[in-house]
Symmetry: C2
């Protein structure tokens, strides 16, 4: 690939970006697409949605960029939660590091590479890209110290920035814990694997156990019912509601009656609180023993103080560690009910099965990757398969195939990965939606680093040395050398990957093609005029975090060896900064968050990228016979690893456990201000299993949920393929 | 090596064993050697030590075997603690498994191996040992199903036994926790990394912190002083004691006075409790502020209940996880004071340094191992270095060199390993002696498995295929095949290793050569007639557990491939059973124990051995072209790994955390019976930093320690090279 092919590719991509960005600035002004582009606004300010002036104002087309640029971190924290801030911090970190890297690599390393060998340079347009990589530096060159210096500058800069980012994210996480005063999940412990006995129901056992061992702090508990049982209860509830309604009992009374049945206290059957009409008694609702059988071996247990709940969640309760398993409960909107019905004892075997499935999936995914990478090397492929020469004779075709097609094919294959990983994480048994998303984020990350980065490099190495047996690739001692040889020459592909996958994915992110199609389908095919009937989504961290981290990895590994990637990468990160801020502010709703738990993933991946870069550089310096540069790189690797270990000691525990000081201080403040009673009252009705499950968003069901603030967090359940989660259902409001 | 060389070797070893065992049965009857062979008895029944009849009775020579055989597990538990029982369980487990393995392998596999190829068998005496291994089975033989069956029988038998052992050890551990009612360490939390401040002393900070956050359960605390400060205090204490004594104040008063100063409460200076003589005031003892500077950032904090201490020890106290680090305190006799002075913040870097040092040590230790292994292959060495042919021409020399010398050299090299590992573990920062021993046990285990097992196999492979580059050995894909080729032919060495290292080590264990020499030195050179002046030791788990596990590994890997090792191994385990029981009953004292924490190590190593055996067999079946046997081995590997994962889920948490149910029940019982007050009283004086540190065992110092049961646990400090720990000092009793 030469400079002109690169320019063709970047031209196509810039044009695509400009067209799509402009299209977006027009589309977002259409009132009919409000639900697509302003999901966040809709969920926030429902009362304004009928104001005709609100979305019909014609804003100049670049206004969204200005708005997105000007938003403060506080605003983002309020709208997108801590996870959004952490994600944007990762983008800002990349911009900072790669700005420094660009300056040193473009002005120091790039000229050295270009003039590294005594050769006749062609006209710059026809120059091969490999001329700009370290491949062009002759062996034993005295100028390799410059590469080593660049490596030192980039590594130190990255470590210093990482340290301050980790420090401030830790502070933000502590503030997040301390600020969430009304979060009832701090008071709640999820108990699973309650042992079954013939004599007592699960509910009785839970009550006995906790009154016995946590008598001073145990408040109440709420059983979790099997899905089928819940459905039955729900149908019954609808019946009573209708009965009550037809008897002109006031609605409020009905709603309280039902709440007592489902969401509150330890009751396992309907208890009628006040003098009830005779016909309610006649309906077959007093099926307590029946219901007892439908209980799962899991319950939510409420405690009087946050500290008591924390202690109970961290302790090993019983001599048999596979019974009475306690965890701090997720927030009501974050809890993933479906996994709570599943018996706890099968999760360990499920986890192993998922691990095996994941490894197989990642391995067999190599096939499309190899196919893709082979397209970049048409000239080499032509030697092996002469018949494809006919297709590639036209210059335009060739440029298209080598410059554009491989990345597009790869992108299509990659788009099916996140939903599969989400299914894997669901089966693994996460108890919270945020935990499930974080787990699939890690899976997608492993997948993408292996299948995009390593697989491309290894196939590159395999095609380059076609004579050498591919079987030799697995040898661990040759891997650093293989990497050192392959990375500079794979850089060409990575540049096009940044252009296509990076830039284009941002445009698509902005346009939201899938919701747009759905919206059009609703509007023009189904003729449904209610613009709120289509929901909005939560931010897809499990696809976006790995993507940003992958580009970071590409940037680090290519920076010193093939600096030409850096300008394209910087453009990508700048665009990402604007686009993601805009999306967080306008499009995605924040229904649950992990509280910054993505940062350790980001930190560890960045350290991995740095160390990998250093190892590859070590290999390159070795190949180029520069013992000084090699020997200076080894202390750098050691220092980076020590730095990582220090961060792990200093900051990471906060992301695993909650400090008791913070929790005790919060408890005290609430006790002092007398809010505790109020919180206890809220507790009993906060977790509502029925509503989260009801697939049909019938209005009558809304009554079953209490009038706490949980009301506007919990929602219906329409899924889009790549995010099988429940979006906000904005229509369901009781009359 | 042929059968006759093997018989020579086993003859020598049997003779050595018989001689040493007889020598032992004579030596143990000598009254002058009581302190060497009856350390445990001496520490238990001091009052009887002057009874002239007690050790002068002439017991028939085999009586120790009978006694050791007849001792019940309860007796062993009472004398040796749970660790001893767990260790003996491992020996019994090995006996059981290898009995089954012997039956199936000697009667089914061995004949198949011997008649595996159609060949003329020589006279049995001159038969090479390799004829009895799987090497002799011809390729594609239909009889390989028998080997596969044997593998199945051994694996299932091992897993079933392991499951029941793990179950019963877990039960014993729970009983150990519940039974140790008087153990004050359950009430005590060790706090390290107390942040320093200019305004307040550490002691004040600790008091403030715990009264603030654990007000309801905090009882008191005790600071830990720098070693130098302790020495000063000690000298001062001696002074006062002498002053008080000369003033005819009664001894009891003096002892209580000192206790208040050093061991009790929060005091940082001497508080005189009752009207004191004027001259005490004149001595410069009221150096409170001075002492404040000598405090370390560490303290022992006492709580009112066990549960409160457990909760405090498990919580993350502060937003900065590197301050206020809490752990459950070890028992008073188990605590390792020297590591408490070291600032906590440097341990993470020390741990990394130790890890690197350990890896380097293990790597460079290969040199003596390679040298040893090369001696076994004299014939192959002769080809490479013709000059050694002259030495090996005599038949006896050759048999000695191949059959005996390699193991002896290896043993000598190996004997320096445990002390080095102990130093490593000390530097790592264990807070307890038992933790340090367990940590060095793990290190020695890794070391011994790598350097005895793998290194021998790899050098075997390297010598066998001298033409093939040694560099190829690192290739992961060829390792199973290399192992499959090398293990059967290394089996010869392993048989001699069992004979020499195994049998001989037991004889030496029985004779105790080092204490014997020391005793003679005291008695005949120093003319010291007091037979109690030389102390006794704790059981060296860090050398014996890895040794037994190594022989287990050898047994598993060789069982199917080279069954000839099994009879020798069974003899070893039977002898080990007798010898170790005897040693636990008579020789070693139990001053501290880990409470069965060695079992997870034993379990995991056994599973590792099993899986390794299965992988090697898989390789062998592959080499022998038996696809059926190969394909039947794969499910076996999967099942073994799943079984291990189940055990990890089901039993392992008990060895990491204490179940709160058990602890709460214990608290309740004590509160009910009114023992709590008494325990609280004991608490304040249980931990005594001075005495454990005092190198000189002057009698006056004994007074500083309170009259609790701790008194006969804590001891002086004379070390022997391979066990740098303090032995019991039986003489030091206050007049």
């Amino acid at each position: 690939m030469n400079i002109s092919a690169l320019l063709t590719s970047s031209g196509i991509n810039t044009a695509v970006c400009v067209v799509l960005f402009s299209l977006y600035s027009i589309l977002r002004k259409q009132p009919s697409l409000v639900s697509v582009y302003f999901g966040q606004k809709l969920s926030q300010v429902r009362s304004k949605r009928n104001d005709p002036l609100w979305f019909q104002r014609f804003i100049p087309s670049a206004s969204w960029i200005v708005k997105s640029w000007e938003a403060s971190e506080e605003e983002l924290l309020a709208i997108g939660g801590l996870d959004a801030v952490v994600f944007l911090r990762a983008v800002v970190f990349s911009i900072r590091v790669f700005s420094v890297a660009s300056v040193i690599c473009l002005f120091l390393v790039l000229p050295l590479n270009y003039f590294g060998k005594e050769m006749d340079h062609k006209h710059i347009r026809n120059e091969q890209l490999s001329v700009f990589t370290i491949e062009n530096v002759k062996e034993g060159s005295r100028w390799l110290w410059a590469h080593c210096l660049a490596l030192y500058v980039i590594s130190s800069c990255a470590c210093i920035l990482l340290y301050f980012e980790y420090k401030s994210v830790t502070k933000m996480r502590l503030a997040y814990i301390a600020a969430s005063r009304s979060q009832i999940n701090h008071f709640t412990v999820l108990v699973r694997a309650i042992p079954w006995s013939r004599e007592e129901s699960y509910s009785v056992r839970v009550a006995k156990f906790f009154t016995d061992y946590y008598s001073s702090s145990y408040l109440s508990h709420q059983m979790i019912y099997k899905s089928g049982a819940m459905q039955k209860l729900m149908t019954d509830a609808e019946k009573i509601y209708n009965v009550l309604k037809s008897n002109t009992v006031e609605q409020h009374y009905g709603s309280r009656l039902l709440r007592c049945g489902f969401c509150g206290g330890t009751s396992t059957s309907f208890k009628i609180l006040s003098p009830e009409p005779e016909n309610v008694r006649t309906t077959s609702l007093h099926d307590g023993p029946d219901l007892g059988k439908k209980e799962c071996g899991a319950a939510l247990v409420f405690f009087r103080t946050r500290y008591a709940a924390l202690v109970a969640s961290e302790a090993l309760q019983q001599p048999n560690p596979m019974t009475w398993v306690t965890d701090l409960a997720p927030e009501p909107s974050d809890i993933y009910w479906s996994n709570l019905y599943v018996p706890y004892r099968i999760f360990w075997i499920r986890k192993i099965a998922i691990l095996v499935a994941f490894i197989l999936f990642v391995t067999f995914f190599l096939i499309p990757v190899v196919f893709t990478q082979s397209l970049v090397h048409l000239d080499k492929l032509e030697k092996v398969f002469p018949f494809i020469k006919g297709i590639t004779e036209r210059k335009f075709m060739k440029q298209l195939i080598t410059g554009y097609l491989p990345s597009v094919i790869l992108m299509i294959f990659l788009s099916i990965v996140p939903p599969i990983m989400m299914v894997f994480s669901t089966l693994e048994g996460s108890i919270s939606r945020s935990g499930r998303k974080r787990s699939s984020c890690i899976k997608v990350l492993y997948f993408i680093i292996w299948n995009v980065f390593f697989a491309n490099i290894l196939t590159e190495a395999a095609i380059d040395h076609y004579q050498v047996s591919i079987m030799k690739l697995g040898d661990p001692k040759t891997i650093p050398n293989q990497l050192a040889k392959a990375v500079p020459s794979t850089a060409t592909f990575f540049v096009t990957y940044v252009l296509t996958s990076g830039w284009a994915s941002l445009s698509f992110e902005l346009i939201q093609p899938f919701p747009l199609l759905c919206n059009s389908f609703y509007r023009f095919i189904l003729r449904n005029k209610d613009d709120t009937s289509y929901g909005s989504y939560t931010f897809p961290y499990h696809t976006e975090v790995p993507r940003v981290l992958l580009f970071g990895l590409l940037g680090f590994t290519c920076s010193v060896l093939a600096p030409l990637i850096l300008p394209f990468l910087l453009v990508y990160f700048f665009l990402a900064y604007l686009v993601y801020r805009n999306q967080i502010l306008d499009v995605y709703v924040t229904r649950y968050q992990s509280g910054g738990l993505y940062w350790p993933i980001i930190h560890n991946t960045t350290i991995f990228s740095l160390v990998l870069t250093q190892i590859i550089s070590l290999g390159v310096f070795g190949i180029k016979h520069s013992p000084i540069a090699s020997s200076f790189t080894i202390p750098l690797i050691i220092c980076t690893l020590l730095f990582n270990e220090y961060c792990r000691q200093r900051f990471h525990p906060i992301f695993k456990k909650t400090p008791s000081k913070t929790i005790i201080d919060m408890d005290r403040e609430d006790e002092h201000s007398g809010r505790m009673e109020e919180i206890h009252h809220q507790l009993l009705s906060a977790y509502c299993q029925i509503k989260s499950e009801s697939k049909s968003s019938g209005k009558s069901l809304e009554l079953n949920c209490p009038e706490t603030e949980v009301n506007d967090k919990e929602t219906g359940d329409i899924s889009r393929p790549e995010d099988p989660e429940a979006p906000v259902n904005t229509s369901a409001q009781p009359p």
